[in-house]
């Protein structure tokens, strides 16, 4: 946790940046047409929420990304556990996993639109292809790095496979999985917004695309600001959950 001093600096930096931006736009040093003005963006965000016109879009994007996040993570963790515990399967599937992960996801968006339509599903699918691999690789790595001594000890103490899963593999992989969750949130948002941007009728990505279509930079920046706040809030939530579930970890710098 940063101290009060660091917090003040952080706030000051943001304020300074916004003021500089505001000043540069107003005095014509940068073109407001291309760069907009912070106060205008704030007003726009305010209006969106005051009139309530942003809520349906926010709702759609949230639903898409939460679904992509949940489905992708679940599949990733399950597959990660499976492949980590079945080296034979892993050896066979390895090239396929690598090949699939090598596909740039943006090119999938049109295909998913064809398969799943313009609605929610195609965006969720896009998000899942991104989130899945993050969760998968981290779970796989986490399970592979379980201390062999701890594992042998548990087995000698009578642990069966399901005990090992619940008391050894999953807790050991938990810190990897949690660090992946925070990356995954970002990816889920990317999946949702890119999907919306490329073809949809609702969502923040759609809002941004609309604004862009009429060269409304204020609208684009306002959409970005809302997205940013949204991701930060989710990230804080995961962080709080992580601190609760990983109390057993030694604090950094605390020594042993």
């Amino acid at each position: 946790m940063p101290g009060l001093r660091a917090r003040l600096w952080q706030a000051g930096l943001l304020l300074g940046f916004l003021l500089l931006w505001e000043w540069a736009s107003r005095t014509g040093r940068i073109d407001p047409f291309f760069f907009s003005v912070p106060s205008e963006i704030a007003k726009r965000v305010w209006r969106w929420f005051a009139t309530g016109e942003v809520y349906p879009h926010l709702y759609v994007t949230t639903a898409e990304m939460l679904l992509a996040f949940a489905i992708g993570t679940l599949l990733g963790v399950v597959f990660g556990l499976w492949l980590a515990l079945a080296p034979g399967v892993a050896a066979v599937l390895d090239p396929y996993v690598k090949a699939l992960n090598a596909i740039p996801r943006v090119v999938l968006a049109p295909i998913f639109t064809l398969w799943f339509g313009l609605g929610l599903l195609s965006k969720v699918a896009l998000g899942v292809t991104l989130v899945f691999f993050v969760a998968f690789f981290n779970t796989y790595q986490g399970v592979k790095e379980v201390s062999p001594i701890v594992l042998q000890n548990a087995r000698l103490l009578g642990a069966r496979r399901r005990h090992l899963l619940a008391h050894v593999y999953l807790p050991a992989a938990a810190s990897w999985i949690f660090s992946s969750l925070r990356t995954s949130i970002g990816f889920a948002v990317i999946g949702a917004v890119v999907g919306e941007y490329l073809g949809s009728a609702a969502g923040l990505g759609y809002l941004i695309a609309q604004a862009e279509g009429v060269f409304d930079t204020t609208g684009v920046f306002a959409g970005m600001a809302v997205l940013m706040a949204f991701v930060l809030a989710l990230d804080a939530l995961v962080g709080a959950l992580e601190r609760r579930l990983l109390v057993w970890r030694p604090k950094e710098g605390g020594g042993r």
Binding site: V150, L156, L157, H163, A172, W248
Partner: protein
Amino acid sequence: MSLLEFRQVSVAFGDYVAVEGVTLRLAPGEFVSLVGPTGCGKSTLLNVAAGLLAPSRGEVLLEGKPLKGLNPLAGYLFQQDAILPWKTALDNVALPLVFRGLPWPEARRRAMAWLEKVGLGRFPRHFPHQLSGGMRKRVGLAQVLIAGPKLLLMDEPFSALDVQTRQLMENELLRLWQEDRKTVLFVTHDLEEAIALSDRVVVLSAGPRSRPIGEFPIPLPRPRDVAEVRLTPEFLRLHREIWELLRGEVMRAHAGA
């Protein structure tokens, strides 16, 4: 019949033959120590006894039958930390009972009694990283003992402790052992500890191809106090006798390293 028997056991790691032709019998209730220079294969032999490592040659008999897979009678206190870092001291000790199907509350209740037995009654909610090295070893000991193994394999369990705590733990171990006379295979590099605790001390030669080169029965009367027994003439005589043999091996290991 012996509880555990090594028959001409050899273990090789690739081209490196760590132990060769080890034959060793442990009678039920016997306390046997293995001593030998570092790297001679003591931990390797314990791993074989626990069924974690299959011998490349020879076999291990458990109550007369060949051992296949994990040793179901063995409790193993590893040389390294082996308790689960993400469970509290209490839950670590309760875990073997949970594996056997006991519900958590009952398992925790019994685990508490064991924590008290090893002197950690005040630290049930501490996580391993909040405990000292010696305290973690004691959690490990309670975790192994709560499962009620017939055979106890211990790999330098007290080497990280200071002299006083160490003697306390040694006496504690003897007291617990006296209660139900488990068969113990105890590994240490401390000859005095081996003599003070054991019925028999087995000296291993320096590796590679290490094997037992001397067996010494320890006829010291029980119950023993590990601190007092060290001062008896009989103890000193045994120490001199065994050390004579061990010293040569330690020197050889040192020269080879």
